[in-house]
């Protein structure tokens, strides 16, 4: 029998870890990437990677608490078994990266240093300066280069994934790709295809994401029948540096190292921020969330910053929304050692030294919690069965998704420093299951007749040709992209309203119509970036639609998805009896909402490209959903009522596995 061959699309952290593990297990890997893999978007990740470690363990931390923080931070929208497995693997993964040579910061004794990130009270985050993603990616890139020299891996850099190839039984048997230099098409027979192409920030025009994060590969899989889960959950990072071409990330680690967010109490105070006395500053996160302070989960920090600028009119500048992120009280030496890389970015692009002058920042689209729907096989201990071909497999057999482009790990909101972990985990963990899947397919893809691949090749050649001849249209793809981005940013980020979402859906449909009249200004067949961009723009519309429709239909607030019309405000009564009654009512409403909306959104691409949305129950078998009360007014009273109900349920024989301790997030 021929050796299995696997095609990996995307060479970021997830794609490279899968490639490394597959090659090590003896599988031949073709690695396709839009850019040289060392230039993938993972390099932009700054802050660090989470895992329980020897220090936190002795402070009462354990894998269960990492799991619990992750699902609580994600507002319980994730299936719990994969998250548990990931948290369990955390320590092993950080150890492995340490062995691969990642220059993690060190304690004086030579151990890995750790910092604290949002949504937890433990210092779980290992880091390499402020370029942890870059360092993790490089060490995997180096290992994959080793396998390339060994002949186990072949890289196809500057290649674009166009569509998966399915056989008559609906199993994925490879893919059609295009060389972005010569514009030649090629069929890649493969016994499994793994998509590891990251997020879709370009739907929003400017974001913290790189230019390759256009979602095209995922969109093409979706149009070929793969489901898309939780599309409406888009993380808006609280702190980014506004820019004309891109919104550059200012890592959460700036707050982890003591950075304080504030605005002057006087709107648009014209004074130099350093001359504004403490008494005339509002440290609004610290005031509203005394327990977590500046390190509340991202969705909350984002909304507060957005709110203080738009609703309270306290933006630092009059013409541009921003707040101060202040590190000037931290010793320069500490900043250089722990945050050097990100402070240089600020200095380089803004021309101001953030060690001396407070930075000006504002939220920006940052991460797609949603992504391709993937399966898993649950183990008897509540985690996953290692080696199961179902792990990370989309609804199309033989087609896998890992990393940011799957929907599995972060629910309604991702905690900082969990993405690097989920990317490496899903890549490493899926490999044995992928191989099992290859071996279950019978005939190897390489032995299939070429007919299987011919129709896909012809379809893609025709699609390409049709774009090239459209030189007489009246629409400009770059302008359309800008319009799409502005629209999506306006209606589908921090605050969402049904009337706006419905109108935006219609507008996206009309933008898509106009896209059909796009003219390419380059009709050549050599390194034609113009036609490649136009093609990927066309692939953004199906994703934009499923994001909007998912958001429109979900009438609740959960994590990053915030609809003020459906918010559950705190309780305000002062009379104890009335207060108690309000807390009971609040918990009733919470339970009803959980029954109605604690469901994965699953979008399937209908005929005509419109999303058909259904809902699936979420596996909450390890810990029951509980109210996320970060800073809510009257949270203590609600927490009391909630605990009583949980205790009653436990006595009633309805006990859940694991500690019933409340995460105590009310401050």
């Amino acid at each position: 029998m021929a050796q299995p061959r696997v095609l990996v699309i995307g060479g970021g952290l997830a794609g490279l870890s899968a490639t490394m593990r597959l090659a090590e297990l003896g599988v031949q890997v073709d690695l396709v990437s839009l850019v040289p893999v060392k230039r993938s978007h993972s390099v932009c990740a700054q802050g660090g990677i989470n895992s329980v470690n020897s220090l936190t363990r002795q402070q009462g931390d354990n894998e269960w608490k990492h799991f619990d923080d992750t699902v609580y931070g994600g507002d319980f929208l994730q299936h719990q078994p994969p998250v548990k497995e990931m948290a369990d693997w955390g320590p092993r993964i950080v150890d492995l990266m340490d062995r691969l040579g990642v220059p993690f910061n060190r304690t004086p004794e030579g151990f890995r240093d750790q910092r604290r990130f949002g949504g937890t009270l433990f210092k779980r985050t290992a880091f390499a300066g402020a370029t942890t993603g870059q360092q993790l990616l490089y060490s995997l890139d180096e290992q994959v280069r080793r396998w390339e020299v060994e002949g186990k891996v072949k890289k196809w850099e500057f290649w674009d994934f166009l569509e998966p190839v399915l056989d008559d039984a609906g199993r994925c048997r490879g893919a059609i790709c295009q060389d972005l230099v010569t514009m030649q098409f090629r069929a890649f027979p493969a016994d499994a295809v793994i998509i590891a192409t990251g997020g879709c920030g370009l739907l929003f025009g400017r974001s913290t994401m790189s230019m390759v994060c256009n979602g095209s590969a995922v969109s093409r899989a979706y149009r070929a029948g793969a489901w898309y889960g939780n599309g409406e959950f888009i993380q808006v990072h609280p702190t980014a540096i506004p820019g004309a071409d891109k919104l550059r990330l200012m890592s959460e680690s700036a707050r982890g190292e003591g950075g304080r967010v504030w605005v002057p109490k006087t709107p648009h105070d014209p004074r130099d921020p350093r001359d504004i006395p403490e008494s005339e500053r509002s440290y609004f996160l610290e005031e509203r969330y005394p327990k977590y302070g500046n390190l509340v989960p991202r969705d909350i920090a984002t909304r507060e910053i957005f709110d203080i600028c738009t609703n309270e009119g306290l933006s630092v500048e009059k013409d541009r929304l921003c707040v101060y992120l202040d590190l000037t009280h931290v010793p320069r030496e500490t900043l250089d050692r722990k945050l050097g890389g990100i402070l240089e970015i600020y200095e380089k692009f803004q021309g101001v030294d953030p060690r001396v002058v407070p930075m000006k920042i504002f939220p920006a689209v940052h991460y797609s919690m949603g992504g391709l729907w993937v399966d898993y096989e649950k183990s008897s201990t509540g985690g996953l069965v290692e080696g199961s071909p179902r792990n990370q497999q989309t609804n199309i057999p033989g087609l896998y998704a890992i990393g940011e482009c799957d929907y599995q790990y972060h629910g309604a909101n991702r905690l900082g420093a969990n993405s690097l972990l989920s990317c490496i985990f899903s890549g490493l963990f899926c490999a044995p299951g992928v191989i099992a899947s290859c071996d279950s397919g019978g005939k190897k893809a390489a032995e299939e007749s070429s007919r299987l691949f011919d129709s896909g090749l012809r379809r893609e050649e025709e699609r390409h040709r049709a774009l090239l001849v459209r030189t007489a249209g009246d629409e400009n793809p770059y302008d359309l992209h800008q319009q799409l981005g502005n629209l999506m940013t306006r209606v589908a980020t921090v605050v969402r309203r049904n009337d706006q979402l419905a109108a935006a859906y219609a507008e996206v449909c009309s933008l898509e119509e106009r896209w059909r009249r796009c003219a390419v200004s380059d009709s050549g067949n050599w390194t034609n970036q113009n036609v490649v961009f136009t093609k990927s723009l066309g692939d953004m519309f199906p994703l934009a639609k499923l994001v909007l429709k998912g958001a429109l239909q979900r009438d609740e607030c959960r994590g990053a998805h915030y609809k003020p019309d459906f918010a559950m405000p705190g309780i305000h009564a002062t009379d104890p009896v009335e207060k108690r009654r309000e807390a009971e009512a609040w918990c009733d409403r919470f339970e009803a909402n959980t029954r109605r909306w604690l469901k994965s959104t699953v979008a399937a691409c209908g005929p005509g490209g419109e999303p058909e949305i259904s809902y699936q129950d979420v596996d909450t078998s390890l810990t029951p959903p509980r109210p996320r009360l970060y800073g809510l007014v009257g949270g203590e009273e609600i927490e009391d009522v909630w605990k009583e109900r949980q205790n009653a349920a436990t006595v009633g024989g309805n006990a859940h596995k694991g500690p019933a301790a409340f995460a105590g997030a009310t401050g």
Binding site: R39, L100, R145
Partner: protein
Amino acid sequence: MIRSVESTGHHDGGQPSQSPADHGGNGHSAPQRFVRVRILRQDAPGEESYWERFEIPYVANMNVISILQQVAAQAKSRDGRRVAPVAWDCNCLEEVCGSCTMLINGRTRMACSALVDRLLDESADEIELRPMSKFPVVRDLVVDRGRLFHSLERVKAWVPVDDSYDHGPGPRISPENQEDAYPLATCISCGCCLEACPQFTKIELVRREDESADDFEARRTAAFDAGFVGAHAISQAMLFNGHPTGKMIADERLTALTAQGGIQMCGNAQNCVAVCPKSIPLTRSIARAGRAATVWAIRKIFDR
């Protein structure tokens, strides 16, 4: 230069000039200002290169990437001809992916961190963009930097771990060692150091008509192996020779560094360190590598 629509041709030190012709009926709105750019273009390998000029609306705080995005969007040269968009490489736009290296006003640097206001201070008339000269042009500003990555193979720039299974943490490392290693590890493979190096010369091979892809690849690899390995790779070799596990194959790296195209080709021009966008101490790495290679060569004599 930045000029207004009806510019009279004079310039004022690169500061945006204003024109009464562009007020659009509103005396308070700022007139539209423009940046002039000339770009050295080439349609494909082996083709003649040519200059094309563009005029781009000025936006505050713009960088060279914003200029190129606008060039693509308008697809029109300064004299109003419809032209194909200029091809260029970019990805992260925050100087950490290493994609967008080009010659900007004659200097090798990253396009994303090249701020237009500062470029205009240097040369107010026009911003000049050219592709890197030490790598084969693919199209316009896109070059093939495959050789740069091949050099990393030559020096075995990796930690030779047994496997990716769990064997506990890596070696203990002192903060001093980490602080020494980290700057070297931030190399983004942009190629600026190679572009600026007098010893690193262009290798451009063309596939022969009767040559298979594999044969061409083998011929290309052999040519790369004979050429200078480059400052970036020497520095990576020192990075891994300083790592407790990485140094277990230190001799193999030194073998590569003393072979043809190795460290002896370095002419000590020190241009590499001057142009590195990440301020990596490349000359320190080269000096270390030189010393290590000498010690190693002597040791080899006595070990015989």
